[in-house]
């Protein structure tokens, strides 16, 4: 088992691990690496602007030199990075904010440092960061990573004035702009849909310029940290919470540590699992903690989670953005949740829209978002994509309606990505059934829409045609009867359509 008696055992730093396995983080080849770099930088920028409570302005430029060397620069008007944090934030893999208990774009503490690492090993250049917080005038850093020890090497740091608060990051890497161009554009276009209050510009080699987003001036309210739901109580979490305040009595411990667990519920719950509410939490051994955790996860009488930690796009903002970006007719919006998977609160929302800009197909074209981030790759593995095929669209969609698209957004404090590349969401059975319901709701809205359209068209032609047919009936009947004059029918027809005009 595990290596040889003579084996050269040692710990591997996270930087080393991802250096060896960079395809796991989306740095498989120059095409994907350039795209992932843009993505990680833009997502960090948007998160930072959201904390700063400003309308985000994010400017992306990509400059390609001879061969495959590209420099990506992303500038924002967010909070800026405090000086003391810069080295670790950019030069240490798996360094980031604490245990995430609200919806954010990046959660792994991996993204930006991976871009720095990839730039460094592929072109030998450091990342350059120019940042200004409310507390200073601005500084510029250039940073490497010491991969073996996973620690930052600050090559230089100099004061450099910057007009507005915010951060600009430059990373030079081995990238293939020609092949990733389309994806970068599509990614930013869709980011403008899911963060419609942000204005994003893109400049490629000084020759192409694009603007995305800016569809609303409304800044969504900031999701707030919340206590964990009791169904998230795995043994590690319980252990950590217990270690924080070992002297709390069990009853108080539960009420103070979890949401949906007030005094009444705690009493009932402890009674049900026959544990002494007055025992101090610190006095419980591993086995007792294990029993408590298992019971918390299995008990089915806790309330649905609170939604304050989540930030869905919302009907109006979503509609606005889709209408403007795709010149689309929006048909309907649906939302499911807040619900929880393994104790993590989540909401799914979706919009169905029609436009010539969407692919013509039997099933709607799918645009996927998770925590406001567009997902572009690995759609075959994704729960939204798989589920879409299980819906009998023919039942909802008349063949004459084409160019239908569905925009889905999954938001949660924890997204069950199937890989670190964060491009597909894994099939969790409770989530799957909510998505099915969401799709069916949208399908029914599509059906109602298309039937209404048909009816209107129909009734205009109706009177004219009825009159023609009835006159023929009278004429042929006269012929069969052997009678020469055909009776006048106009009064009868007019009367019929007066009382019956909207049959």
């Amino acid at each position: 088992m595990t290596g040889s008696a003579s084996g050269n055992f040692r710990g591997i730093s996270p930087a080393e691990f991802f250096y060896r396995n960079r395809q796991m983080a989306g740095f498989e080849n120059p095409t994907q690496s350039l795209y992932t770099t843009v993505r990680e930088l833009v997502e960090n920028s948007l998160d930072s602007c959201e904390e700063a409570r400003v309308l985000p302005t994010v400017d992306v430029t990509i400059q390609s030199e001879l061969g495959r060397t590209c420099t990506v620069s992303v500038s924002d008007n967010g909070t800026g990075v405090p000086d003391e944090n810069v080295p670790n934030a950019f030069g240490k893999v798996l360094y980031g904010n604490k245990y995430s208990s609200r919806q954010r774009r990046g959660t792994f503490g991996l993204g930006v440092t991976m871009a720095v690492l990839y730039g460094q090993i592929s072109t030998g250049t450091p990342a350059v960061i120019h940042t200004k917080t409310a507390q200073n005038e601005g500084n510029e850093y250039s940073v490497y990573i010491d991969i073996e020890s996973n620690s930052p090497i600050v090559k230089s740091s100099n004061p450099l004035k910057r007009k507005e608060r915010g951060t600009t990051v430059h990373i030079t890497l081995n990238g293939d702009l020609k092949r990733s161009r389309e994806r970068v554009i599509e990614y930013l276009r869709l980011t403008g849909i899911s963060t419609p209050h942000a204005r994003i510009t893109l400049s490629l080699d000084d020759t192409e310029r694009y603007t995305f987003g800016g569809f609303t001036k409304k800044i969504p309210s900031l999701p707030v940290d919340s206590l964990p739901h009791p169904h998230a109580a795995d043994l590690e979490l319980i252990r950590r919470l217990a270690a924080k305040n070992p002297d709390l009595r069990l009853h108080e411990f539960l009420v103070g540590s979890f949401q949906q667990l007030g005094h009444k519920t705690a009493e009932k719950f402890l009674n049900f699992i026959r544990m002494d509410p007055r025992a101090t939490i610190g006095s419980l051994d591993r086995e007792a903690l294990s029993y408590l955790g298992n019971s918390l996860r299995k008990y089915d009488k806790f309330g649905k989670p609170s939604a304050t930690c989540l930030s869905p796009v919302g009907k109006e903002s979503f509609f606005n953005a889709i209408r403007k970006e795709f010149n689309a007719t929006v048909i309907g919006y649906s939302q499911r949740g807040p619900l929880e998977w393994d104790g993590f609160p989540y909401i799914v929302e979706g919009v169905l829209a029609i436009s010539d800009a969407f692919e013509q197909s039997d099933i709607p074209h799918l645009f996927r978002f998770a925590n406001r981030v567009p997902l572009l790759y690995d759609s075959t593995d994704d729960v939204f994509a798989k589920t879409l095929k299980r819906i009998p669209w023919a039942r909802y969609k008349p063949p004459e309606i084409s160019g239908v698209a569905i925009f889905t957004h999954f938001c949660s404090i924890r997204v069950p990505y199937s890989a670190a590349g964060k491009q597909s969401i894994t099939s969790v059975s409770s989530i799957t059934s909510e998505i099915l319901s969401l799709y069916r709701e949208l399908g029914r809205k599509l059906k109602v829409f298309s039937e209404g359209k048909k009816r209107a068209l129909h009734s205009r032609r109706k009177l004219k045609e009825f009159s023609r047919l009835f006159n023929l009936l009278a004429k042929f009947s006269s012929e069969v009867a052997g009678v020469d004059n055909i009776p006048d029918t106009s009064r009868m027809i007019n009367e019929l359509f007066e009382v019956d005009s909207d049959v």
């Binding site: 023929l472 009947s477 069969v480």
Partner: protein, 350 residues
């Protein structure tokens, strides 16, 4: 309206009835015996399948009915003109003629269906309304018929006049049987068998009139056989391929078809199917093919068909099902060219 004595009168009455409703300011309505399968019942007295009491209403104030109501009346007027001028028309001609009158049918299937409605409504078959199918069966045998068509009035024809048989067309259908030397009508499915039986003088040997059905027999052929059966008192025997389709050709002649249940005097309840059945295939070791899924599905359908409820027919179906084989009439050729006439038919006709 069944008491009307001729089609022209029936049609005229229909027209008058509708016209007077319009003149009174009421939207005309008609009721047509429903031709759906649920409304087809076995009539003990006539021993055939007929329509039950269920009726379909056509209400001219209903925008979903008005088109087909109007089309029905156009067919009525077209029919009346045919009859008054002593003409006939094919179903295809009917379909094409509509255009000149501003009446458009979706396809010929629609005009065919409405003609059936008219048949059910005034209780005359299409042949009496001047419409004849294109496909012809043939007939051959010792019968004298007297023509009634224009130019041939009272001319008599001997149905052995042409050794290739005579087509069962408008003229022969409106002719009357005068006399016969035959004792039997033998209807066969395929043209090859029909020629073989003429050639081998089988009609002399069994004193029979031969009818070539050519697959599912056209109504006109069933009508003629019924008439010869009624007026000349000849029993009818039917000889078909040994498969569900051949069996059903026979059963339709005997008990009527769903899509002609609204027409009287078509079925011949005493007619008899003399094979090829499943036992014949085994007994004569005929060259045969495996039944395909379509054949087996057809057997399933027939086993649930109300015309096959008797034990005899159920067991005929069951035998095919167990055997899972089928054979054509021509398969007897395996034993030589005269085997059918020398061996098979004598046993079957007794």
């Amino acid at each position: 309206m069944s008491d009307m004595s001729d089609p022209i009168k029936s049609l005229t009455e229909l027209g008058k009835k509708i016209l007077s409703s319009i003149e009174d300011g009421h939207f005309p309505r008609i009721e047509i015996p429903a031709r759906s399968t649920e409304n087809i019942v076995f009539d003990e007295q006539t021993e055939q399948f007929i329509l039950g009491d269920s009726r379909t209403t056509r209400d001219s104030s209903n925008s979903k009915h008005i088109r087909s109501f109007m089309q029905l009346m156009w067919i009525a007027s077209f029919s009346k003109r045919l009859l008054e001028s002593g003409r006939t028309s094919s179903l295809r001609d009917l379909y094409y003629s509509s255009e000149a009158f501003g009446v458009r049918f979706k396809d010929q299937a629609e005009s065919d269906r409405l003609l059936s409605d008219l048949e059910a409504l005034i209780e005359y078959p299409r042949e009496s309304l001047g419409f004849f199918p294109e496909e012809h069966s043939s007939i051959y045998g010792k019968v004298i018929m007297r023509y009634t068509v224009k130019g041939y009035e009272d001319k008599e024809v001997d149905l052995t006049i042409s050794p290739d048989g005579l087509p069962i067309g408008p003229a022969l259908l409106s002719a009357s049987p005068v006399r016969t030397d035959a004792k039997l009508i033998l209807a066969v499915e395929s043209g090859g068998m029909f020629s073989r039986l003429i050639e081998t003088r089988c009609w002399e040997r069994f004193d029979c009139i031969l009818v070539h059905l050519g697959g599912q027999a056209p109504r006109s052929t069933r009508r003629l056989m019924r008439r010869l059966h009624d007026e000349l008192h000849l029993p009818v025997k039917i000889f078909t391929d040994g498969d569900p389709w051949g069996m059903h050709i026979a059963r339709v002649i005997i008990a009527g078809s769903a899509n002609a249940a609204h027409i009287r005097d078509l079925a011949i309840p005493t007619a008899e199917w003399i094979g090829v059945n499943a036992d014949d295939i085994v007994r004569y070791n005929l060259p045969c093919e495996d039944m395909n899924n379509r054949d087996l599905k057809r057997l399933d359908e027939l086993s649930k068909d109300s015309r096959y409820l008797s034990d005899d027919w159920q067991s005929a179906i069951e035998s095919f099902r167990r055997l899972r084989k089928k054979a054509e009439q021509q398969a007897f050729s395996r034993f030589g060219i005269d085997f059918v006439v020398d061996e098979y038919l004598p046993t079957k006709i007794q």
